[in-house]
């Protein structure tokens, strides 16, 4: 099962390598990882997507929590949450495909952020599956390069 885990940690040198070292050392996998400062610049928020059965996810969260520099670990999947990922795609756009590419971008509510005579650079934001979908659709037209941010996620505010 895929899990999105959010980790608040001290914004100090070496902390990220404690997290990644834990994953490599214990054979846990990381599908994506994204990290940046929070409102409080002494604290970073790291979102990681991993896979594993219940026992593995339990170990992952406990082991993360055991790291001295980790403040809080939340398995976001335990609650309602929103997740987003952004991708930049450089796709071939020549005379006969330009219109088709623009149509696809429009359907996915993407944006063209760079134009050259033979290509567009496109920005798309959405869930991982939406990002994957546009990649799959543009692939036959000719993707030259992609860069993905990895997932970031946030629990929904309670409705009450």
């Amino acid at each position: 099962m895929k899990h999105t885990i959010s980790v608040l940690l001290q914004n100090k040198p070496g902390v990220l390598s404690r997290v990644t070292g834990l994953f490599s050392g214990r054979g846990f996998n990381i599908e994506s990882l994204s990290v940046a400062e929070t409102l409080d610049s002494s604290i970073s928020c790291l979102t990681l997507v991993t896979r594993g059965d219940e026992a593995i996810i339990e170990q992952i969260t406990k082991q993360l929590h055991k790291l001295i520099d980790v403040i809080k670990v939340t398995d976001i999947g335990d609650s309602e949450y929103v997740e987003r990922e952004m991708v930049l795609i450089r796709v071939k756009a020549e005379a006969q495909t330009r219109a088709e590419v623009l149509r696809v971008i429009d359907i996915f509510r993407g944006k063209v952020v760079d134009v050259s005579p033979k290509s567009y650079a496109v920005e798309v934001t959405g869930s991982t599956s939406k990002v994957q979908a546009i990649i799959d659709i543009l692939k036959p037209i000719g993707i030259q390069e992609i860069v993905r941010t990895g997932t970031i996620a946030m629990a929904r505010a309670s409705k009450k």
């Binding site: 070496g14 390598s17 404690r18 026992a55 339990e58 170990q59 082991q63 929590h65 001295i68 520099d69």
Partner: protein, 566 residues
């Protein structure tokens, strides 16, 4: 505030923490600290190899319960310490390791004797620090000691750049440490305690399975009270030996790969397993699905990651072992559901079954007349030291025979590398223990292979007038590996025959120690007696039955009931 330099501040921190002895080896990057140590009342033990320094500090920590401290220089000094740091980490031993580092301006430049020791030791320390700013020195050191000794203890490394320790700083006042990100939970959840106690009252075939956590949390009295109050048989892991009196009728001895027949059978047939400060290591469980298959499992441990890691636990209690056991004792003492006589009596049939197992296959060996049996040497050692010596070990068969045949009745008289199994641990650890308790008899039970891994520390023992005794069970083999080859590799002794071994008697003499040898069973007692009566470091070379195996043995990956027996 008065200004002092960084090194002096560090020494003052050590004094604040109650450190009396540290073990070190100098070098360019750490001279300042050695210099400052000269003006303090802390004994600075100069070892002969950095691995020895860290093992010695570890030995001291295990027998005293205090934080062991080692002082190493940068680069090779620090890397030489890594095996010993990992050894302490695997066994949760509280330690602070201070390493010198190149000046901050040179860090990252591949400077002379620069290594990223913080990077290297990240996976084998509880936590580590590189101090880049002199004003962080004192808070970092205090935090390091706090982390090392609280929660599940462990080694903490502090890397000290040369320029940082040379700076003049104010020595800040000591305040209670509160870390937002680190608050180990000591107190048990009362609901879980009650649930566990009620479960215990329902059990017919309960077993207490006790690990090193009981030693680390000084919970032996509470454990003993619980076991006796409810008449529950106890088995210990290698790390748990001494956590419950080995000569108590309730003790089944060690369990696991080289555990007793009775202990392994009891666990396999138990309906309730109460794990206390143990971590279900593969050397204990054997094939996982056959481990305690009929048992409900209660697990007390201060480290939540230990719980349900290998074996699914039914009633977890995340807490300090001492507090949890004490809470259980209190529950039984005050509960109207508990009738001591009745519960004790109800466990008698179970005890009788266990006694039958123990009688059928006791911890034993075959007598071969004048050929020295290693088990006999340990039995004699136990007898002559009244089971009261501090025993350290090397690794291999020697270690297992010591664990099986010495009867540990008290905690902290046993220091062995359990989790990592580090050959070369025993001699420096013995020195650390003896430095802490000069009046106690300290014996390193060694193999002829392992003893050569840190033999240079004989010089340290000599220099500091630290008369440890070394019992070499000399089979002229890397015996434990040879045993595996005998049993599982068609007796192909690849890389386990040491064709050249030093004459240990002469070697001892070369270091100014005493060397004794026994080649016949009838000489064993005299050699031991003479060694124990000698006020000098003594190496005893016992030439033992060469191809003796350690039994019982659960082959790796087998169920613990599938024991190979004598």
């Amino acid at each position: 505030m008065e200004k002092i330099n960084g090194s002096q501040a560090i020494i003052r921190c050590l004094q604040e923490e109650g450190v009396k002895i540290i073990f070190g080896f100098p070098g360019g990057a750490i001279i300042d600290l050695f210099d400052a140590l000269m003006d303090s009342d802390i004994t600075n033990v100069l070892v002969r190899h950095e691995q020895g320094a860290v093992h010695a500090a570890d030995g001291l920590a295990r027998v005293t319960g205090e934080v062991g401290v080692a002082l190493l220089t940068s680069g090779p000094g620090a890397t030489n310490g890594v095996t010993a740091i990992a050894t302490a980490y695997c066994d949760s031993i509280p330690m602070v390791i201070l390493t010198g580092q190149v000046p901050t301006a040179l860090i990252g430049n591949d400077a002379f004797q620069e290594v990223d020791i913080v990077g290297i030791t990240r996976p084998c320390t509880k936590h580590n620090y590189l101090v880049k700013d002199a004003k962080d020195l004192v808070p970092t050191l205090r935090e390091a000691f706090h982390i090392a000794r609280t929660g599940r203890p462990g080694p903490v490394l502090v890397d000290l750049p040369k320029d940082v320790v040379a700076k003049m700083i104010d020595f800040p006042e000591k305040k209670p440490i509160r870390m937002q990100t680190y608050q180990p939970n000591y107190e048990p959840h009362q609901g879980q305690i009650e649930k566990a106690c009620k479960k215990i009252l329902k059990a017919k075939n309960p077993v207490l399975y006790v690990g090193g956590g009981v030693i680390l949390s000084n919970a032996h009295e509470e454990l003993t009270e619980l076991a006796r109050k409810l008449n529950i048989p106890v088995t210990m892991t290698l790390m748990g030996l001494g956590g419950f009196p080995g000569t108590d009728p309730l003790s089944m001895g060690m369990l696991g790969m080289h555990g007793s027949y009775a202990a392994n059978m009891a666990v396999a047939n138990s309906d309730l397993l109460i794990a206390v400060g143990a971590r279900f290591d593969d050397r204990v469980t054997g094939r996982l699905d056959a481990f305690a298959p009929h048992a409900t499992i209660i697990h007390i441990d201060i480290d939540p990651t230990s719980i349900s890691k290998n074996v699914k636990v039914d009633i977890p209690i995340v807490a300090d072992c001492k507090q949890a056991l004490s809470a259980m004792n209190t529950w039984f003492n005050t509960s109207s559901d508990f009738n001591r006589e009745q519960v004790s009596a109800s466990h008698e049939p179970w005890r009788a079954t266990i006694d039958d197992w123990a009688k059928k296959h006791p911890m034993t060996y075959i007598d071969e007349g004048e050929i020295i049996k290693p088990q006999f040497v340990i039995q004699k050692l136990d007898e002559l030291t009244h089971g009261d010596a501090i025993i350290t070990t090397e690794v291999g068969q020697n270690q297992m025979w010591a664990a099986q045949f010495y009867k540990f009745n008290k905690p902290r008289q046993w220091a062995t590398s359990g989790g990592l199994g580090t050959m070369g641990y025993g001699l420096p650890a013995a020195i650390g223990a003896k430095m802490a308790f000069p009046d106690k008899t300290v014996v390193d039970v060694a193999g002829d292979g392992s003893i050569q891994m840190n033999i240079q520390e004989l010089a340290t023992a000599k220099q500091y007038n630290c008369p440890v005794k070394v019992v070499i069970l000399n089979n002229n083999y890397l015996g434990m590996v040879r045993q595996w080859q005998e049993l599982f590799y068609n007796k192909r002794y690849a890389g386990t025959v040491m064709e050249v071994t030093p004459d240990f008697v002469m070697l001892a003499q070369a270091y100014g120690a005493v060397g004794l040898r026994a080649t016949k069973t009838s000489e064993v007692e005299d050699v031991l007696k003479e060694a124990l009566a000698t006020d000098n470091t003594v190496i005893m070379d016992f030439v033992i039955a060469r191809e003796e195996c350690v039994f019982p043995m659960v082959p790796a990956g087998k169920a613990t009931t599938e024991m190979l027996l004598v």
